[in-house]
């Protein structure tokens, strides 16, 4: 037998959110404990009073003011918009694969061939002539 009901149990009890076994234990305890019955009464009164606070008048112009602030249409996030994003991502990947295969093919054709590397460890726009073995800066 529990001495007194946990506060959390009583709170859940008034919401009927206890497990059936817990619910039964609370009922049994309440039958013999005036102190817990008093606590329960306090909680129920509080909840009743809180429910009465629902009566808050909505400002008359809320609907009209909100409608005035709405953009003309919901921006597309699905359908064509999403399809377009997937298509452009796929095209980028395919372009990368194509360019990569071209570079590899050119290297095989001529060992002395130098490619132009635009994006590397140097700042954007830096141009290098690179051999398959050692990079050499343009102009040297």
């Amino acid at each position: 037998m529990i001495e007194h009901i946990e506060r959390q149990w009583l709170s859940a009890y008034i919401d009927e959110a206890l497990e059936p076994a817990q619910h039964q234990r609370v009922i049994q305890h309440l039958a013999s404990c005036a102190s817990c019955r008093d606590n329960l009464q306090q909680l129920q009164t509080l909840r009743y009073q809180l429910a009465q606070l629902q009566a808050v008048e909505v400002p008359a112009g809320l609907l009209a003011d909100t409608l005035r602030r709405l953009p003309p249409a919901v921006p597309p996030r699905s359908g064509h918009g999403r399809l377009l994003r997937y298509a452009s991502a796929a095209a980028t990947v395919m372009l990368g694969v194509f360019l990569g295969s071209q570079l590899t093919a050119n290297h095989q054709q001529s060992a002395g061939w130098a490619a132009v590397q635009v994006l590397g460890s140097m700042p954007p726009g830096s141009v290098y002539v690179v051999s398959p073995y050692s990079p050499v800066e343009v102009g040297r």
């Binding site: 959110a17 809180l50 909505v58 602030r69």
Partner: protein, 182 residues
């Protein structure tokens, strides 16, 4: 419009039907405003936030999943907007419900019971306004708006057990603030 369900109204709103979205606002504006008012403690701030909530909801209609309760989805947006607003308010002197609502003095014997009830209600209202936001919102959602533990858990992104324990602490704090706790 009144005969349409939420799903139909959302679909029509997404297709550009403003009357459909107006109907959605009409159905939910009272709840959104009440929650904002209880969380922010000011009608003016609640009105501004409520407008923001519906504009944000309109822009995000594509992200609403029909298996979620629309009101809960909307109140999650409202809750986040209110918390943002409260963060801004924390940097300014606050004017809360406790300062706006004054208990009425007791009058004649014939109206004494009603007056006591009103006084007690004012006491509860003021105490609610003094709770930390985390406790205030859970009491508002459960005891004023009547959402289930599961719906609240979904809105606040916590589990049902946390809803239960947090709600219990919040109610205990309210009882203490209203002088009823032992």
């Amino acid at each position: 419009m009144q005969h349409l369900d939420v799903l139909q109204l959302v679909e029509q709103s997404k297709a550009g039907d403003r009357d459909a979205f107006a109907e959605l606002i009409l159905r939910h504006q009272a709840q959104v405003f009440r929650v904002a008012y209880r969380l922010l403690g000011s009608r003016e701030a609640a009105q501004d936030v409520s407008q923001d909530v519906f504009v944000k909801a309109f822009l995000a209609l594509d992200t609403w999943q029909p298996d979620a309760v629309f009101a809960a989805w909307l109140l999650r947006i409202a809750r986040n907007a209110c918390l943002d607003q409260l963060r801004i308010q924390q940097r300014r002197p606050q004017v809360g419900l406790d300062q706006l609502t004054q208990p009425e003095p007791l009058t004649t014997a014939s109206t004494e019971r009603q007056a006591i009830a009103r006084q007690e209600l004012t006491l509860v209202e003021n105490a609610l306004g003094q709770l930390p936001a985390e406790h205030r919102e859970i009491v508002v959602l459960r005891d004023i708006e009547g959402f289930s533990y599961e719906e609240i858990a979904q809105m606040l992104q916590i589990n049902s057990g946390t809803v239960r324990s947090r709600l219990s602490r919040a109610r205990a704090a309210l009882l203490q603030k209203t002088g009823r706790s032992k």
